[in-house]
C-alpha cells in the first residue's frame, strides 16, 4: 500500500525535492502549516475549506515519506519529527473543531490523549489503527460527537491491545528462561534492560553524528 502511494506521489516528490530543493522534514513542516490553516478555517466556521486544507496537508504528509524513501533520506530522527508534526497537526485541527463548537472540548481532549497514549507504544508494537484525522471526513455524514467518540475509543482500544502485545512479548521472554519461577520476572526484566542498553550504546569506530 505504502509502495503504491509512493509510486503515485513520485512526480510530486521529484518536483518538491529536486525542483524546489525541499527536504522531507521541510515538507512535513509544510504539511503542519496547512493543518494549522485547516484548524483556523474550521474554528472560523468554514468546515469545507478546513477539510480541503486538511486533505492537502495529509497529501503533503504522504509525500515527505515518499521523498525520504525514494532518495534514501529516511532516518529514525526523521520518523520522530514526522510523528511530532502529525501529532501537532491533529492537536491543532481537533482544537479547531472544539473551538467551532462542532465537538465537545472534553471529547476532543480525550481523543488527543488516546492518540498520544497509542503513539508512546507504536514504535515497540507496530499497532496503529490509523483512525485519526481521516475519520474527520465522516463528519460530512455523521455528527462530530460520534466521530470523536470513535476516534477516542479506537485509539484507546489500540493502546490496550498494544499493552497486551508488549506483555505477550515479555511473557515469551520469561517462558524462554529456565530456573526459579518465583524470580522469573526480575530476571527477564534484567535481560531486557541489558539488551536495551546494548542497542543504545554507541558502536566503537562510529563517530557521533553532528548537525
Amino acid at each position: 500500500m505504502k509502495r503504491f502511494a509512493d509510486w503515485l506521489n513520485q512526480p510530486f516528490a521529484r518536483i518538491l525535492h529536486e525542483g524546489l530543493g525541499l527536504s522531507p522534514n521541510q515538507v512535513s513542516g509544510g504539511s503542519f502549516v496547512l493543518s494549522v490553516l485547516a484548524a483556523l478555517a474550521v474554528a472560523g466556521g468554514r468546515l469545507h475549506a478546513g477539510l480541503g486544507l486538511m486533505a492537502m496537508g495529509q497529501w503533503l504528509d504522504g509525500i515527505d515519506g515518499a521523498i525520504a524513501r525514494h532518495y534514501g533520506l529516511g532516518s529514525p530522527r526523521g520518523e520522530r519529527i514526522d510523528t511530532l508534526f502529525d501529532r501537532a497537526s491533529e492537536a491543532a485541527i481537533f482544537l479547531g473543531f472544539a473551538w467551532s463548537g462542532l465537538a465537545p472540548i472534553e471529547l476532543v481532549l480525550l481523543s488527543l490523549a488516546a492518540i498520544l497514549l497509542l503513539t508512546t507504544l507504536v514504535e515497540r508494537t507496530g499497532i496503529d489503527p490509523g483512525a485519526k484525522r481521516v475519520l474527520l471526513y465522516g463528519g460530512l455524514w455523521f455528527p462530530y460527537r460520534v466521530i470523536f467518540a470513535l476516534i477516542f475509543l479506537i485509539n484507546l482500544g489500540g493502546f490496550v491491545v498494544s499493552l497486551f502485545k508488549a506483555d505477550i512479548q515479555f511473557q515469551q521472554r520469561m517462558d524462554a528462561l529456565t530456573g526459579d519461577l518465583d524470580t522469573i520476572a526480575s530476571r527477564a526484566a534484567r535481560q531486557e534492560d541489558a539488551e536495551r542498553a546494548r542497542a543504545t550504546r554507541p558502536q566503537p569506530g562510529l563517530r557521533p553524528w553532528r548537525s
Partner: protein, 141 residues
Amino acid sequence: MTIITHVLATTLGVRALRLHGRQAVLAYVFGVGVDIDHLLKAPFYLRAVGLQRKKDYYWRSSLQEPIALLWIVPLSLYLRSWVPPLFFVVHVAMDYLVRYEKMPWYPYSTRVTRGILTALPDRVKEVALITLLVVGNLWIL
C-alpha cells in the same frame, strides 16, 4: 489474591455504595473481570509448562497493574463514572498484598516489586482479608 476474595470485596463495595445497573456492572468488570487476563495467558502456560500444575508461573499482565489506569481513567471520564478506577484500585491493592513478583509500570519501566506488607505471610493476609470481607458483607445485609 483469589477470585473469591475479589468477588467478596467488589460485592461489599457495590452494597456499601448502593450501586445499581450499569454502575454495578462496571464495578464487577473492573473489580473482578480484569482477572480475565489469566485466561488470555493460559495458552502460554500450556505451551511452556503443559497440563501439569506449576506454582509461581507469571500469570499477570498490564490489565491488572497500575499502568492500566492510563486507559481506565480516560475511559471513566468518557463514561462519566468514578466506579472503574475505584474498583480497579481496590483490585490492584489486594493483589499487591500477595508476595509474588509484579511489574507495575511495564512496558514503560522494567521495575519489579513484590508489593506491600511483604513481611507477613500471604496465607495470613488472605485469611484475614476474607474474614473481614465476609463479616462486612453479612453486616451490610
